[in-house]
Symmetry: C2
Subunit: 432 residues, 2 copies
Amino acid sequence: MTTPSPLSPYDNLTPVTQAAYRARSAAADLAPLPRSAKDDALLAIADALEVRTSEVVSANAEDIARAREAGTSESIIDRLTLTPERVRAIAADVRHVAALPDPVGEVVRGSTLPNGIDLRQIRVPLGVVGIIYEARPNVTVDAAALCLKSGNAVLLRGSSSAYSSNTALVRVLRDAIGGAGLPADAIQLVPGESRDSVQELMRARGLVDVLIPRGGAGLIRTVVEQSTVPVIETGTGNCHVYVDAETDIDMAVDILINSKAQRPSVCNAAESLLVHQDIAAAFLPRALDALAEAGVTVHGDERVRAHAAEAGTKATVVAATPEDWETEYLSYDIAAAVVDSLDAAVAHIRLWSSGHTEAIVTTSQAAARRFTQLVDSTTVAVNASTRFTDGGQFGFGAEIGISTQKLHARGPMGLPELTSTKYIVTGDGHIR
Amino acid sequence: MTTPSPLSPYDNLTPVTQAAYRARSAAADLAPLPRSAKDDALLAIADALEVRTSEVVSANAEDIARAREAGTSESIIDRLTLTPERVRAIAADVRHVAALPDPVGEVVRGSTLPNGIDLRQIRVPLGVVGIIYEARPNVTVDAAALCLKSGNAVLLRGSSSAYSSNTALVRVLRDAIGGAGLPADAIQLVPGESRDSVQELMRARGLVDVLIPRGGAGLIRTVVEQSTVPVIETGTGNCHVYVDAETDIDMAVDILINSKAQRPSVCNAAESLLVHQDIAAAFLPRALDALAEAGVTVHGDERVRAHAAEAGTKATVVAATPEDWETEYLSYDIAAAVVDSLDAAVAHIRLWSSGHTEAIVTTSQAAARRFTQLVDSTTVAVNASTRFTDGGQFGFGAEIGISTQKLHARGPMGLPELTSTKYIVTGDGHIR
């Protein structure tokens, strides 16, 4: 056997590669399972999380103590913290995933061909999914539950700051699914806290079917650029609100403030405001005051600053630099520019947007139609907040992330996006 | 502008990157075009190919002369050759693509959310598609037509052996679509005949949306391993025919011979035969004789060779080495093994298959069900030849390739597989 197959057992495997082989074997067992077997395991996970809450919370306390020693900010410590109440909420989320329809086996296409062959394209699990994520330990359980429901084995690579929490959580999950008769290796924490384990995951082509990085832009860029395993790029959002020449100004102010300030730390929050020059004098004074009230600093181009000065707004308006047009602030800041036309707004968005979500506020059907046709982002909102780009809001019931790439999945990813398909060709002796 | 955007014009662009920028701009123009504009351009291409056949054929003669000088084999020269008749056939294929439905704008999902928002997921072009392919110049036109129909700009990187033919063809195509009012840069030959241009294409992340290598296993592996642009892996086919314990022997022989010998040079031809031990004594003598008649050399394991010796078949049966289990012969050769059970056949396939197409021949409903559940390939055929895995056979009307990966597209890829999607969220002032 001179040319080893990716599925052959080798000597000298690294711990990460060993984990991937075990995951592959578990994935083969999961793929044909009926929904009931997967749901039973999910309910066992939820029960186990409730029964073993104190074990999880005390492991979490170790992470928090380390984080405090390291001088971590309170906002990050808050995201890291698991209370008994939060663990209960996580368990409830797992029950919610169990209640969702099983994507596996869904017939996506089907027909009888002219020669009498029955052709069906059905959803099948991807196989082994690797998730690389940052501080929040709740992602450990969410991702594991979504992968299990969709018949995939999962390799979880959380941040080292949550290692004790993740270790405890994965122990609970593995015990629960093992008790429910499923292979425990369907859920594994990637061994090792060092960056080497991320590198090994990115090189595990043939063993890992897809990597999904969830977290900051730096993490995502590293994985996208370095991985030989196929990647689904998630979550960077430089979202725009464009206020058209013909618009309902009250609606435009409401949508702007909601898009920017309802929760600025998330990827579907707006980071840029574009205003048609014909409406700027009427809209900007109201918008700037509303932004000021919401505590938002405006990074304005020359024309925005001129309108601000003329209107005597109480808003803080600083001069925008080109960097502002491409910055995902994730804070109470917004870039703002006046544009000559809808097409100029589209050109600005094409140049600077991360392709996540762009909204237009307009009373013109023609403008709405042109904007939705020309803007090439995962989601285009017409007279609605950018904040709706979300698996929960879209009615998917759960979300593994928001893909900002064009291949495989684009926009909020639910359970079907964690599947591939295969064709079943059924004949009675058909030959060509 | 310290951090340049991928869409900014730069100084010092390489010719390939310049081509990619122009393709991106053309793609933005193509995306909103209605079907009629694209079909008119396709029909203009077909007409132009017929009018300018002699220009294409004489350019092709230069390639053929060079190939003969270089001592190229007649089979490759045949694939390279364009006759007036072949050019007419290519033009007819383009008219066929024009007649296919436009995938762009198709509503994939749609609903009114509980809050009254209208949500629609619609198909949109991918943007810029790069195709890297080998000798056949007809791929130049096929790929351009399919990309144009699906609203994508295309960067064509053919083999240097077909450079004159491809240059002439692309000149005809660009003139035709330019005359039809579409941007000529929607169809471009990647400049340069050296391997550097392939390297540059593979590094053009952000400019090229997807690369599709079409050709030999070596080309595909290089692109898959080295590209930072997302890749759709196509076409390697180590396809298996498994003859179950309960089977119709006549049907099994017919399917085996058709799968192996009807056209051995294609990716959906069978390369391996697996026979259940309980049927081997009845099936193998018949099968080996039929393979011998079809001119197929059998690379058999010990048990196959024992049956061959016992039956006194006229077939050529050589001893299989482990390499045979994973070889895509593309010739009149087949690897053959006797397996203990259906599950052993599945295990063999999991270990060695390229995941293209596997067929089972069985009279048992339970065996058919288990095989289709457990085999994880793009296509599983029950009582049908492996040769049906083909966009034309599946009724897709055309095919850009057969994806053997799990992300985005799996199996024969038609026009919908050359699209992505975007969500349109329409409200009347909706905020969260």
